[in-house]
């Protein structure tokens, strides 16, 4: 039965490999091909090769540029705050001496991330509701004026970032906590004996030692933030006045509402290249600092 032992591992991964090939690899290349084709499902014209025309159109499309800026704004707001807060929470949990307390906090932080984006978005839509939402009720009970949380152009995106923090920070915090727990305790003890304070121990020991995990958390959060769609689409539909329409929403509307598949594919490839570039920069910068 040696052959069975040799083959079995591959058979076990076959279902996932098939799904991965069908739903990730294949669409990846199909989208690449589509990006060079003019294919409008309602135009009654056959698909035609147009070279880089779709890419050129995207770069000159004010709505694409606007949605790109909106997305970058979300990334700039969401990623640093998520990583910083996650690190603070991880350090806090690490400092907890009672195991039950740490486990309780860890579980509480993790729960929001288990919610589907639709559930989380609908929940927060009610929190943010201008007339009868929880937050305005709290503000009024404190004698403060109500805020148009998701209906003003200035507040809508910060409000969505706030909701995203609640939703995603737990996962990142737990990853960073796992990284912190890998650091040998003697290092902190030695530093304490040498007179290093808490901040010094954090910057000189915790941060450098946890850097690989931090890099992972940073890259994962950046990729996720560039692909923001669910919370903005469900909470504001991209409004008010496109202030929260992300590039993924614009791609979705182009491809699946206007049925411009070629153009939608070209924009998704531009987004892919942008994410890849950001991820590589983060990877090399942090690796260089590490070295």
């Amino acid at each position: 039965m040696d052959w069975l032992r040799r083959v079995a591992p591959y058979l076990f991964i076959t279902p996932y490999a098939l799904a991965f090939t069908c739903f990730i690899i294949l669409p990846f290349f199909v989208a690449f091909g589509l990006a060079f084709v003019k294919l409008e499902l309602t135009s009654q014209q056959p698909a035609a090769f147009v070279g880089f025309d779709n890419f050129r159109e995207a770069l000159g499309d004010p709505y694409f540029r606007k949605s790109l800026w909106v997305t970058v704004y979300f990334v700039v707001l969401a990623v640093p705050t998520t990583v910083a807060l996650a690190m603070a929470l991880a350090v806090g949990m690490q400092a907890m001496t009672q195991r039950w307390a740490r486990n309780t906090v860890r579980a509480m932080l993790f729960v929001p991330g288990m919610l589907n984006v639709a559930v989380a978005a609908i929940l927060w839509q009610w929190f943010f509701n201008g007339e009868f939402g929880l937050f305005n009720h709290l503000l009024e009970s404190l004698g403060l004026p109500r805020l148009p949380w998701i209906s003003s152009r200035a507040l809508a995106m910060p409000s969505i970032v706030f909701m995203t923090l609640w939703w995603t920070v737990g996962g990142s915090a737990i990853l960073l906590l796992a990284g912190l727990q890998q650091i040998p305790g003697e290092l902190w003890e030695a530093a304490s004996l040498d007179g290093a304070g808490a901040w010094k121990r954090f910057t000189q020991i915790s941060l450098p030692m946890v850097r690989p995990v931090l890099l992972f958390v940073l890259v994962i959060n950046t990729i996720g933030a560039f692909q923001v769609f669910g919370q903005t689409y469900l909470m504001t539909r991209g409004g008010p006045e496109l202030a929260t329409r992300s590039v993924v929403q614009y791609i979705y509307e182009t491809a699946f509402n206007n049925y411009r598949l070629g153009y939608g594919a070209a924009m998704s490839w531009l987004l892919f290249m942008l994410i890849a570039a950001f991820s590589l920069v983060q990877f090399f910068v942090l690796r260089k600092v590490d070295a």
Partner: protein, 437 residues
């Protein structure tokens, strides 16, 4: 579990899946063929339950046909339907809004159904339907759908607030405003802002679905989507006048809530807003509410003409069906059409005149009030780029109401962006030469 057992399990699972795929859905043998019809739509609310009941009646009365309904949220539904349709996997019968039909008609998987309206007597009498609506369903010289209903926008009113404000008829019943003057008087009479800070304790009126509100006012000012020569008319002076009226209610006297906090329908439900424009389909929402005394009326005439915006649910048939399946599907569509009165109960105005003229329908206050507007409903344009057009109108109305552009500027930008879109997408502005202007 050892590797061998796992392999056996996987093999059995694969065999099971393969067998299930090959199974035709019947148990044993039967001489009588049952025709299965898949019926897709977006009736996810109370209207879905009404439709299920109609289907149950059909299945009971047609032993040789079995209809199965699948419903999902409209936006998702349209994506799935388009993809399924172009891949020859469309359901036998499906519902499309008249406004969305131009996009789907061009995708080439909807069959003509003229035979339903032909013969003597025809299965469905053509003159029982609104001529303008039937004109909306003509593509490439054939009719491609059976309209189920027409859902116009109209006026919902809080009857108790109207009575409190003394807006009553000779019998003491709430009297909805009909003219511009009456409407403005009612807005003022039910507006309660003691400190005058623009945040009223009670609003006489509020905008609800901004674009629908605008589209309802457009025909009142003589507005249109396209010119007779087929060019875009989004920024024609009449449309600008309609949008200017919307903007004017927030100017000076602050008669409507600020755009940052514009929850007209929610306010109406909470009795904080006395009047609101919305669609007849919102009736289902009101029926679930307790303690709100509401009445409905046609849109008040704000501009020089009566007018409102309306759309319709249309049943369509997949192309490439065999004769038996096609006949069964046509029978099902006709059956649903015949049961327009049941459908009206779900909060719709039936497409059939005979249903609307029945005493049962006339006793439905909201539906019959909205139905009064059918002679002057302006349907959405027959444009394959209708999604983009509606989106541009969304942007324009929002920009103008928020004071970030004048109505002229906002609508001009909408027209220019729409023209750019159809040029880039290679689409015609209008579906075909039969398009009503």
């Amino acid at each position: 579990m050892g590797a061998k057992a796992a392999l056996v399990l996987m093999a059995m699972l694969s065999l099971g899946l393969y067998t299930a795929r090959e199974w035709d859905g019947t148990l044993g043998t039967s001489d009588e063929r049952v025709i299965h019809l898949n019926f897709w739509n977006g009736f996810t609310g109370p209207d879905g339950r009404t439709m299920l009941e109609i289907i149950r009646q059909f299945n009971e009365s047609h032993p040789g046909i079995e209809v199965t309904m699948q419903r999902m949220e409209w936006a998702i539904y349209y994506n799935k339907l388009m993809v399924a349709g172009i891949d020859d996997r469309a359901p036998e019968v499906f519902v499309i809004h008249a406004s969305t039909l131009p996009r789907f008609a061009r995708a080439g998987f909807i069959a003509g159904i003229d035979e339903l309206f032909e013969g003597s007597p025809p299965r469905l009498p053509l003159d029982d339907f609104e001529a303008e609506l039937m004109r909306q369903l003509r593509y490439d010289g054939q009719t491609i759908g059976v309209p189920m209903d027409i859902h116009p926008q109209g006026l919902y009113l809080n009857a108790a607030l109207l009575r409190e404000a003394g807006l009553v008829d000779t019998k003491g019943q709430a009297r909805p405003p009909v003219t511009y003057d009456e409407f403005m008087a009612a807005v003022h009479a039910m507006h309660d802002d003691p400190d005058g800070d623009g945040r009223a304790d009670q609003w006489g009126f509020s905008w609800s679905m901004w674009r629908h509100n605008f589209q309802s006012l457009m025909p009142q000012f003589g507005g249109r989507y396209f010119n007779d020569d087929g060019t875009s008319a989004l920024d024609c002076p009449e449309n600008v006048a309609a949008l200017a009226f919307m903007v004017s209610l927030r100017e000076g006297e602050l008669l409507v809530p600020p755009p940052e906090n514009n929850l007209g329908w929610v306010g109406f439900r909470q009795k904080k807003v006395a009047m609101v424009f919305d669609g007849v389909y919102m009736l289902g929402d009101l029926k679930r509410l307790e303690g709100l005394e509401y009445v409905a009326a046609p849109m008040p005439q704000i501009g020089p003409n009566p007018g409102t915006h309306g759309d319709a649910h249309v049943m369509c048939l997949q192309e490439d069906l065999d004769d038996d399946t096609r006949a069964a599907a046509l029978e099902f569509m006709a059956f649903v059409s015949d049961h327009g009165l049941n459908w009206a109960d779900a909060g719709q105005v039936p497409a059939r005149r005979s249903a609307r003229e029945s005493e049962a329908f006339k006793s439905m206050q909201v539906q019959s009030a909205f139905a009064e507007q059918l002679p002057y409903v302006l349907f959405p344009p027959r444009s394959p780029a209708v999604f983009e057009l509606q989106q541009q109108l969304d942007f324009a109305v929002e920009k103008a109401l928020r004071g970030r552009a004048t109505p002229e500027e906002a609508l001009r930008e909408a027209r220019e962006n729409f023209e750019t879109f159809v040029r880039n997408a290679g689409l015609p502005m209008l579906a075909d030469s039969e398009a009503p202007s």
